[in-house]
Every structure is written in C-alpha cells, then in structure tokens.
Symmetry: C2
Subunit: 159 residues, 2 copies
C-alpha cells in the first residue's frame, strides 16, 4: 500500500477534528504533517473524486469533509487512494503451460480455487477496514491523547 | 502482491498432487504452467528458505514438499515470497509537521491509532490466509475438476 493511504487518513481525521465546515487550503493541510504539497494534492484530488472530500475553489477555498466521519470507513479511504484492485493478483496460470494444455476437466467458468482461496483473505481485510469508521479512529486518538483535537485546531489556526 | 505468490501456490499444489517424494526439477516445475524458469527459480529458492520445499542437488535432484499439504497455509506461502511486511505502511507522520510540533499529549509509546486500526485489517487478512491450508485448496481443485490430479501427473510424466 502506498504511503498516500496514511496521509489521506490523517488528513481526513484532521478535518474531522476541526469539526466545522470551513474549507482548509491544500498547503495548510500538507503542512499539518509536513507532507510534500504537490504529492499530497494528488491524494486530495483522489479523495474528492471518491466523494470523501469536497473542494471549494478560490482564494478562501479549500477542502472539507464531504460526509460525516461516521459514514467514512477506512476501506473507503484505501479504495479512494489505491483503487479497487485486489491484494492477490491472479494471472490464470492454471490455463498455461503443460498443465493448461493437458487440462480436460472444467469449462473454465469456475474461478480458480487458488484465486477463490486468496480472495477470502481480501474479503476479510476489506471487511475489517469497512467496519472501522473515521469516527472510531478519532475516538481512539482522543483516548490516547485528550489534547489531540486542541493541538490540531491550533495547528490550523482555529484557536 | 507479486505474481510470484500465484506461481508459488500452484507449484506447491502441483507437488502435492504428484503425491510422492520424487524430486521435480525446476525447469519441469516452471514448464507446468509455462513460467519463466529463472524468475520462477527465485520463488523456489524462497520456498526452500522458508522450509516449505526441500531441494536435492544433482542430475536427478529437484524440489519436493518439505511438509504435508495440511501443514502449509496460504499465509506461509505469502510470507515466504513477500516477506513479513505489513499491508499498511506507517511512517509516523503524526510526529511531523505543525501538528507534530504542537503535540503535547501522549508519550509516543502508544502506537498511533491509525496504525492500530489499519493493522486490524492486516490481522484479519493474515488470519483468513492462515486458516486455509494447501490441502484445503487441493480439495477444492478436485471438486472443480475431478481429473486435475491425473492431468498434473501426466504433465510431469508420472503416468
């Protein structure tokens, strides 16, 4: 997974902690965690495209959460940044080589048993991420450090 | 995940289907699914290192399963090929930038809540793969195509 996933989750959480509807500029969002602005902008655009952020143009524009933190899952963020690919890559080698040539059984309509088995891993991973919302992680951050929201608000000039 | 994982699982399953202790040469194993020999050899060496295969040198040498198919999990194969890394990459950006500078709470001894949440996905994925043994996948292959073992044995000149 690219490091863009870590960036995106923290950026969304920071916006959740600001807790208002004022847009935040991309340079300010990147500065929150010292991220390279141009590369971070790509993640922001991906989050807009996935409808997790809304973008407001103009000098007072910026980004804000498009949905409540309790309706954005970690899976939503991963898919926004990484696309909808699978962890396991099946290239159908079962159909290739000597074994592929000699194979008589099966009509090829059933997905390979190896693919099915590996995809059970993908499903378990997706379910674990889908079950966790940004609001859940925000609560854990608060428990770890009760001053975290104040810190984030100060970093973005809100207090 | 690299395509080496697909190759390694099929190769291990082919050896399981041969069902004997005769070593199979690397060129023959690669030819089973039309795989590039040199690159496939790297996967074979990784499987030997992980003690999933044993290698016998010499002109009649080759590779055979080091353990019973019911004691080799899909996770064992993935870790052998991909190493023991995590799906999610945490680079501790919480400590960086303006937010990192202003952060006062927490002693840094607790792993970041984002990392903990994402690792729950990793754990679910690993558990799903660890629960599935090569013998389970072999049974599914047999159900899909009852002639699959005969096909594999013929491809390796055993019948």
């Amino acid at each position: 997974m690219s490091k863009g996933v870590e960036w995106a989750i923290h950026t969304l959480l920071n916006l959740a902690m600001l807790g208002d509807d004022k847009p935040v500029g991309s340079a300010q969002l990147a500065a929150g965690h010292g991220l390279p602005v141009a590369y971070h902008n790509k993640q922001l655009q991906s989050l807009v495209k996935a409808e997790l952020l809304t973008s407001t143009p103009g000098p007072r524009g910026g980004f804000r959460l498009a949905r409540d933190p309790d309706s954005i899952s970690l899976l939503d963020v991963v898919l926004a940044i990484e696309g909808n690919g699978t962890l396991f890559r099946c290239t159908e080698i079962r159909q290739c080589g000597k074994i592929g040539e000699l194979s008589t059984g099966g009509d090829g309509s059933t997905a390979c048993a190896v693919k099915r088995a590996m995809y059970r891993g993908d499903v378990a991973w997706r379910e674990a991420l889908a079950a966790q919302k940004l609001s859940d992680v925000q609560k854990e951050l608060d428990i770890d450090d009760p001053s975290v929201t104040t810190t984030v608000r100060r970093a973005f000039g809100r207090d």
